[in-house]
């Protein structure tokens, strides 16, 4: 068994190295957020934020737009995640459990919709939202976002739905559970990794989306986080961009994503075969 231990050790080392490689730009962002602008312009890199301070963070948090932007972003994103998962689950159920006329067209449409390019679309989106009275509206933005993530989510979930043996549900029902109970206790947990993966996807798409939000959230108090963040880049035509502040603001924008992931990640690995089917 020594060979296996060595192998696991090597793989662990590889995983750590790759983790560091992927996280390095993130580290660089956090490092920069603690440094003054002068250090960021030097020809010699500053690897550790010695002599750094939280000034940038203080400046960014005291920005009056920050709290309202977090509120708007959370509302839009959570609405999008919930709506996308719910709607997509139904769609996934349809295509993985049923054969019906139009099923193939539906699947093909899901694939093709992903290919629609967005160039120049913003004018039409603005016109539509304006005439529907949905400018500066959380629900309006969430509808656009949900539509953008639903096709992938349906596709992701259908594999998981198909993977849940119907007889498992039925067996549970024989044991006296209602259909809903059977679903909640048996099927739902088995879907968890798929729900988490597509939930994270939907969350990030909505959280970081910029162009659509720029066009339909026209007012200051309706700004989402990416719009607020943009205010720090080229904030002024007569002053240099304060990149330390941009990095601090970016760090703050990324934090809720990490929290969201930490909350749901346990579900990601609870594989199907981990328990249920073993019986």
């Amino acid at each position: 068994m020594r060979a296996k231990t060595v192998r696991t050790g090597l793989l662990t080392a590889l995983a750590i190295v790759l983790a560091l490689a992927w996280a390095f730009p993130v580290y660089w962002m956090v490092n920069s957020s603690l440094l003054p602008n002068v250090a960021l312009q030097s020809t010699t890199p500053t690897f550790l934020p010695f002599g750094g301070s939280f000034d940038n963070f203080r400046a960014v948090i005291s920005d009056p737009g920050f709290l309202s932007a977090i509120g708007i972003s959370l509302a839009v994103t959570l609405t999008t995640v919930a709506a996308a998962l719910f709607i997509a689950f139904l769609g996934a159920l349809a295509i993985s459990r049923f054969r019906f006329r139009g099923r193939r067209s539906f699947i093909l449409a899901l694939l093709l919709i992903q290919m629609l390019p967005a160039e120049g679309l913003f004018i039409a989106q603005y016109k539509m939202m304006s005439s529907l009275g949905l400018l500066n509206n959380v629900i309006g933005l969430a509808i656009l976002y949900t539509a953008a993530v639903v096709p992938f989510t349906v596709w992701m979930l259908r594999g998981f739905v198909a993977g849940v043996p119907v007889e498992l549900e039925e067996a549970a029902m024989v044991d006296g559970l209602s259909r809903t109970q059977a679903f909640l206790r048996i099927t739902f947990p088995l879907l968890a990794p798929g729900l988490v993966a597509s939930g994270v996807y939907a969350f990030l798409q909505a959280w970081n989306e910029f162009t659509v939000a720029l066009v339909v959230m026209t007012e200051q108090q309706a700004r989402t986080l990416p719009l607020w963040l943009r205010g720090f880049v080229q904030a002024s035509a007569t002053r240099e961009t304060d990149w330390g502040q941009v990095m601090a603001a970016s760090t703050l924008v990324a934090v809720p994503v990490i929290i969201f992931f930490l909350v749901v990640q346990g579900r990601m690995s609870s594989g199907l075969v981990g328990g249920a089917v073993k019986g």
Partner: protein, 330 residues
């Protein structure tokens, strides 16, 4: 339920592909007879209504507007109230006769294939790695990927531009210390090194999505089956090829398709790198080319025509692939 059967992710019906009509599928082949008409004909249609309604509401008008506009002369004047004039295929003609277009298309396809395949290969490798290592290591790796994914694009692009900067960049600083004469080397000046930098950034940005999605797919692969296969003498490669890949095929196929689509029209990364250095004309990919032809110039008729052209191009390029995906559906 002690069936050693793998729980197979497949839509293959238990009975042959006969007459239409609703038919529940058996997830385990040959395990159960089809439960025809278990839930009636209307149920599946009701289930897809929310998806369809949402897509129509959110995309219907913009897509129709775009299609119509692509046949119109529609610039800033028209946006500000002048009636647009129908010009038939003029916008399309202007695009396809642009001498730069086909060079850009060729460049974009090459860039797209390299980046997308690299992304999926690395992402798949990382997903397998996540399965092979312990829980703590896995969460570290997942968190690192998620951090990269969650980093706002403005921050990540700024950091990358800093890293490769000719004067202040960490890359040159390191190379000089490794004894390479890279002081003042400008990575963005030559188109080739420009695209290498761009591809590294694009791959770095898209791998987390691919890795985490494939990993989610992998959680469906039964460890029993893998162990059984191992006992039967299947090697690592064989297990990957014959058991794992078919099981995660749906996730794999959509992820690869999405990467191909996204990488074909990559815009932000190229635009920001062009703003940092490099010669726009020599480093344009479809995304930036289209932008300056249409939106950047305020010519929305052309921009719309280009969108339709890009859609057609994407469909044409992925047609074979989409068909093979669809084949598995019937």
């Amino acid at each position: 339920m002690s069936a050693p059967q793998p729980v197979i992710v497949t839509d293959e019906p238990a009975t042959g592909s006969g007459s239409g009509g609703p038919r529940a599928e058996s997830p385990a082949p040959a395990a159960l007879p089809a439960r025809a008409k278990r839930r009636g004909r209307r149920v599946p249609l009701l289930l897809i209504v929310p998806t369809l309604a949402l897509l129509v509401v959110a995309l219907g008008y913009p897509v129709c507007w775009q299609l119509a506009t692509s046949f119109k002369h529609f610039g800033m004047l028209q946006q500000f109230g002048q009636p647009p004039e129908w010009v038939g295929l003029d916008n399309y003609k202007a695009i396809v006769t642009d001498p730069d277009l086909w060079a850009v298309v060729a460049r974009s396809i090459a860039f797209c294939l390299v980046s997308a395949l690299t992304t999926v290969a690395i992402g798949g490798g990382l997903a397998l790695l996540m399965q092979a290592v312990g829980r703590v290591t896995r969460i570290i790796l997942q968190l690192a990927l998620l951090l990269a994914w969650a980093m706002p694009v403005v921050a990540s692009m700024t950091v990358w531009v800093w890293l490769v900067d000719w004067r202040r960049g960490l890359l040159n600083w390191l190379l000089v210390r490794l004894g390479v004469d890279a002081e003042g080397h400008n990575w963005l000046a030559e188109p080739l090194s420009f695209f290498v930098v761009a591809a590294v950034i694009v791959v770095w940005m898209s791998v987390p999505f691919v890795a985490l999605s494939i990993y989610a797919g992998l959680t469906q692969v039964s460890t029993e089956v893998l162990e059984a296969a191992q006992i039967d003498g299947a090697g690592g490669w064989q297990r990957l090829r014959y058991i794992i890949v078919p099981l995660i095929a749906p996730v794999l196929s959509i992820v690869l398709l999405l990467q191909l689509i996204w990488d074909l029209r990559v815009f932000t990364q190229i635009k920001i790198l062009q703003d940092a250095g490099g010669v726009a004309n020599e480093t344009d990919l479809l995304g930036t080319f289209v932008y300056r032809l249409g939106t950047g110039a305020g010519d929305f008729g052309t921009a719309s025509a280009v969108s339709v052209f890009m859609l057609a191009l994407t469909v044409a390029l992925s047609w074979y692939y989409v068909r093979s995906i669809m084949k598995e559906e019937s």
